[in-house]
């Protein structure tokens, strides 16, 4: 059984669908990337999974953690899952820590809550975890306030806090977006290392394909609330099957090959979620668009290993996506 399986997840805010029938699963020990541009619904998917969306949102479908349904579960059940079995690290390390409490208190809290530990024991464990995420002088850090730490250090603290209760799954929502490039690499390497050491699964939400290629075994691509492509990272990056993935890849700079005059960009804008086109959401921007694309929402087809939501490419004319494949990894 998969660690976490999401089936036909649909999220609506006041009638506007932001996540539209997303299904995927995460296996134990796996690292999975959820890729998409801003507004594609990737964060909404994660928030919906953990029951963090405001009460005004309508959520349909199912999210099962080892068979146990999380959608619509009572608060008490969720409190036992969140932090204990599924932990999450947010995008902005600046505001994800309580400015009024010391690092030590915020970390100890998780252990007191989930493992019923006493304060002194919890602090000792927190110190060990800070050491594991390679924060220097962990003992002193416990007594410090968030504003005394740098951004990278705070993100490490958040990762350490998330891992304290030994969760099975860590969801990282753009964990490095707010950090410097060098710190980014360190934090990602740390995540990799901890994942292997602790045997946890990682769901990495990002818009950075570079991050995906180095750190995730499998990737999902979302566009306008729908899953458009899924598969092993290496295969998807080497030969994307959905025109959107292909266009994304084409628009990133490469170290190899001739230097293009300008980087190709995807023409147009992602659709407004309240006025999505009737057929394929990517059709207005797609170079390989067919008349049928504008009428019918493409279904996700699969060959067992990969999945893609584009009938045009399925016909075998990959050359007609209008975008050359490039070796992204």
């Amino acid at each position: 059984m998969s660690l976490l399986s999401i089936d036909q997840l649909r999220v609506r805010h006041r009638g506007v669908t932001v996540v539209d029938g997303v299904s995927f699963s995460i296996e134990a020990g796996e690292s999975l990337a959820l890729v998409g541009e801003s507004g594609s619904g990737k964060s909404q998917t994660a928030l919906a999974m953990l029951g963090l969306l405001p009460a005004t949102a309508t959520i349909e479908g199912s999210v099962r953690l080892r068979g146990e349904e999380l959608l619509g579960a009572p608060r008490a059940t969720l409190d036992g899952v969140r932090g204990r079995r599924i932990a999450m690290v947010f995008q902005d390390p600046m505001s994800s820590l309580n400015p009024c409490l010391t690092i030590g208190l915020q970390m100890a809290e998780v252990l007191e809550q989930h493992r019923g530990m006493r304060r002194a024991d919890a602090l000792r464990e927190a110190q060990a975890m800070l050491d594991a995420v390679r924060i220097n002088e962990p003992r002193r850090r416990l007594g410090q306030y968030p504003h005394e730490l740098s951004g990278g250090m705070r993100q490490r603290v958040l990762i350490a806090t998330a891992l304290l209760a030994r969760p099975e799954l860590l969801i990282a929502d753009e964990p490095t977006t707010a950090l410097d490039a060098t710190v980014q690499a360190e934090v990602l390497a740390l995540l990799d290392e901890l994942r292997q050491a602790l045997g946890l699964s990682l769901l990495l939400i990002t818009h950075d394909l570079g991050v995906v290629s180095g750190h995730c075994e499998r990737m999902l691509v979302m566009y306008a609330g729908r899953l458009v492509e899924a598969g092993p990272t290496r295969a998807v990056l080497a030969a994307p099957r959905h025109p959107y993935s292909a266009a994304l890849l084409a628009s990133r700079p490469s170290l190899h090959g001739p230097k293009p005059h300008r980087l190709p960009a995807i023409a147009g804008q992602p659709p407004d979620p309240s006025r999505r086109p009737p057929g394929c959401a990517f059709a207005p921007r797609c170079a390989a668009v067919q008349p049928s694309c504008r009428v019918q929402v493409p279904i996700l087809q699969t060959d067992g290993l990969r999945a893609w939501a584009c009938p045009v490419v399925a016909a075998g004319n990959q050359g007609e996506t209008g975008v050359e494949d490039r070796n992204g990894a």
């Binding site: 969140r82 932090g83 600046m94 994800s96």
Partner: protein, 273 residues
């Protein structure tokens, strides 16, 4: 919260002034030449300040220094009570309303609206009619209204805090709703609460002075700054010291509290990043 706030002159100066005033109100009556309600038959009635009576005497020959100190006790006590009520009821009321939201919020805040809408003077007069004139009623009346502002301000602050990512982070780490309210929301209200409290104190002192001025407050021979100012204002031509001293203490105290509140707001502003 940083202990270093009191090292800053903007905070330390008004705090020291207030400390001196409180000390004077506490031990002043023992230093005075005679009890606050005793009459000095040797001195002139309404005597000007002198060595025997540093603040002079009032029109009955009572020592004004002793009366200012005793009056200060009542005025400061009113300020203290209003603060305690604001802290005990106002903070909890506002935080619960803002945090749990929905129907709880609507119910709690409509109750605050109703109390707000009640005409204050009518309320005080009603109390006096029902229970007779008693100094305790001043505390009841002021206590009943002083927490309303606090509740509203705290609710607003809680609503803003609820959207902070670290609250989401706390929810994701599996903390229960009440635990998050106590551990994450309340500490973050500290700055606002302290500032609001320091502004509530002078307001309550003013309300008491106002009630005493109207004759609805403290009764002779007991007194408060407001009552003393009232007496002094009536004889301002003949005995200006009767107005100057209590009014000076009242104004200094109010100013000090306001400055303290302002300085604390700046000093306790928790750095977000």
């Amino acid at each position: 919260m940083k202990a270093g706030a009191f090292g800053q002159p903007a905070v330390a100066v008004p705090a020291m002034v207030l400390l001196l005033i409180v000390l004077l109100a506490a031990i002043g009556p023992w230093l005075a030449p005679q009890p606050f309600d005793a009459i000095d038959f040797d001195a002139d009635w309404a005597a000007a300040p002198s060595l025997a009576h540093p603040f002079g005497t009032d029109d009955l020959g009572r020592d004004l220094f002793a009366r200012v100190c005793v009056g200060g006790r009542l005025s400061l006590a009113v300020g203290l009570v209003s603060t305690l009520v604001s802290l005990a009821i106002g903070v909890l009321w506002g935080a619960v309303a803002g945090w749990f939201g929905g129907r709880i919020d609507a119910l709690l805040m409509r109750l605050v609206d109703v109390l707000y809408a009640l005409p204050f003077m009518f309320f005080v007069i009603l109390l006096m009619v029902l229970f007779g004139r008693h100094w305790l009623l001043i505390f009841v009346a002021i206590g009943a209204v002083s927490w309303l502002d606090m509740a509203r301000i705290v609710r607003g602050q809680t609503l803003a805090l609820r959207r902070q990512p670290f609250i989401d982070a706390a929810i994701v780490s599996g903390l229960g709703s009440t635990a998050i309210l106590v551990r994450h929301v309340l500490p973050n209200l500290g700055g606002v609460v302290i500032v609001c409290a320091t502004l509530t104190i002078p307001q309550a002192i003013l309300v008491e002075s106002f009630l005493s001025f109207l004759g609805l407050g403290i009764q002779e021979p007991a007194t408060s700054w407001g009552a003393l100012v009232n007496d002094g204002a009536r004889a301002i031509d003949a005995t200006p010291w009767g107005l100057i001293f209590p009014a000076g203490f009242l104004a200094t105290t109010l100013l000090a509290f306001n400055r303290l509140g302002d300085a604390l707001r700046a000093a306790l502003d928790v750095p977000g990043r």
